[in-house]
Amino acid sequence: MATASNPRSFLARHEFLVRRLHSLTGLIPIGAFMTMHLAANASVLESPGTFQRTVYQIHSLGSLLPIVEWVFIFLPILFHGLLGLVIIRGGTMNTGAYPYASNVRYVLQRITGLIALVFIVSHVLHMHGWIHAEGWLEHVVRPLGGAQFRPYNAASTLGTAMQGTLIPLLYAMGLLACVFHLANGLWTMGITWGVWISPAAQRRATWGCAAVGSVLALLALAALRGAVTVDTHHAAEVENAMYEARVTAHELLPNEHKRARPQADHGRSARGAKVEGCW
């Protein structure tokens, strides 16, 4: 019943579809990506070489990779996260008067969403830099200590970026927030989409989602532990050998922008290391 003086916004007119898309993106692609991402990163616990192979697999997409990243990861996360902010503003938390467990989870879903938003934005900046334009990387991201991950020196640059106590602590918080958010979001999706309907089915779903959450939490902490405990010198040697071998076998096009430089200095201070050229 909109009048000319009071037009309804796009969001209001398509509220149902937009909210269903928000719910869906939480699982596909974001939740699915996060699960794969955690599993891939946990492979660093096995050995730097294993992790490097995983990363080579991902980077075998070549110039398609940025498109895949943006279409299937960054844009859905930005859509879900920014719309999440709008949704959070539309509710009024009332756990003071109604301290039920499900109401507390409603609040936690929103708090962990906010933590996830801050964490993901800074995490992508820290490792990846968001946009691979040299001016942006050189003048904005690297002075902030970002864009530290180099795909062809995967474990060593990861390990270097994760040194200290503050960064691993912040990562642990961010990871656990994301995991809770996904596990609890899975449960609420079951209501949103009508998957678990009876109270008995909902109770079973609670166990199921708690199990999924616990496994993901372990995976996340394993990946974090793996990253923190990398022997960066040894890792860099393995990675460089793998790089040379692949280039010699014509399995890989040489690409210095995906490598850490200067290599000799590697592991002591990638943060201070001057990286030239575009990536």
């Binding site: 109604y98 499900s102 409603y106 009508g194």
Partner: protein, 314 residues
């Protein structure tokens, strides 16, 4: 309850037992007699009420002292205040306004926020409330609806939601169409609880996604113009769990089902089921124990199916 303390009918028909939350406390649990359990014998108790003289006016707290009697409920306390409308400081005031009707928790008229929790005043027992908080009983009007006066609110938005979602079975017509199709026992058992909804508003009062809304009349606005503007505003806001559950009830009814598409269209319009944030306070506070989360899940599934159906059948 010991058998002797039960009324004769209950001794004969034990299955007629009153549900626990409605049960009258037995004498020995009242604060009067129970000094050995740390409760103080009392002659009076205090009631703190959030009052408001009229729509749009400022609200203010007022304290009353009420003579204690065993087995009172909040309505009987309010009756005593009305009979002797004097505040605790001896100020004569206008009687506090409230609504009630059935006095047995089936009409929903007496719904208010008692000690911070939304519920029916007629089944809020003073003895129990004083066990919770001995110093006073706090009464305030529901916070999601416009206050008309004191504890009386305009719950019209709840009924508007039922109209928006066509929550009835349309049987009007010129022809006798004969009896409707029968309902299976299983369906009856599933739907009967949903029919207990008394549109009391507890579910939406506790819902974090249901925001307070009040439309105030403009200078010189006619009744019709005001009603239309109010309806247009309510249309855009969250319908609430009760309406979602009523859609499930009438969409499952063998005759009501004929209009299921129209109801689902209303449920996916602005302010529809998508505004629910799955906090599940509704189901926790519903005095009729209606399985609202089950209804929301059912309606959620049906809404998505309906939308897909419309995309591919048009």
């Amino acid at each position: 309850m010991t058998p002797e303390s039960q009324p004769a009918t209950l001794r004969q028909f034990p299955h007629l037992r009153t549900p626990d939350h409605l049960a009258t406390p037995t004498r020995h649990t009242t604060p009067m007699a129970d000094t050995e359990h740390g409760r103080i014998a009392r002659e009076y108790f205090e009631v703190r009420i959030l009052r408001q003289d009229g729509p749009g006016q400022a609200s203010y707290w007022e304290r009353h002292r009420v003579k204690y009697e065993p087995d009172m409920n909040v309505i009987s306390a309010l009756q005593k205040i009305a009979a002797h409308p004097v505040t605790i400081d001896g100020q004569p005031v206008t009687p506090v306004a409230w609504e009630c009707n059935c006095l047995e928790e089936v009409c929903g008229a007496c719904t208010m926020v008692i000690n911070g929790h939304v519920r029916q005043a007629c089944t809020a027992l003073v003895d129990r409330l004083l066990e919770q908080r001995a110093s006073e009983i706090e009464l305030r009007p529901m916070t999601k609806f416009p206050v008309l006066r004191d504890l009386v609110v305009d719950r019209g938005r709840l009924f508007h939601a039922l109209k928006k979602t066509i929550s009835w079975v349309a049987v009007d017509g010129y022809y006798d169409r004969g009896p409707g199709p029968p309902q299976s026992q299983e369906e009856q058992e599933q739907l009967y609880p949903l029919s207990h909804c008394m549109t009391c508003g507890c579910c939406v009062e506790a819902c974090p996604q249901y925001a307070y809304a009040e439309v105030t009349r403009l200078e010189g606005e006619t009744d019709e113009a005001f009603a239309a503007r109010q309806a247009a505003t309510y249309d855009r806001l969250f319908v609430g769990a009760h309406a979602i559950s009523q859609v499930v009830l009438f969409n499952s009814h063998p005759t009501g089902r004929h209009m299921s598409g129209v109801r689902l269209d209303a449920l996916i319009a602005e302010g529809g089921i998508q505004a629910c944030g799955n906090a599940q306070n509704c189901v926790a506070v519903c005095p009729q124990k209606i399985p609202l989360t089950t209804s929301i899940a059912r309606a959620g599934r049906a809404s998505t199916a309906h939308t897909l159906h419309k995309w591919f059948e048009r």
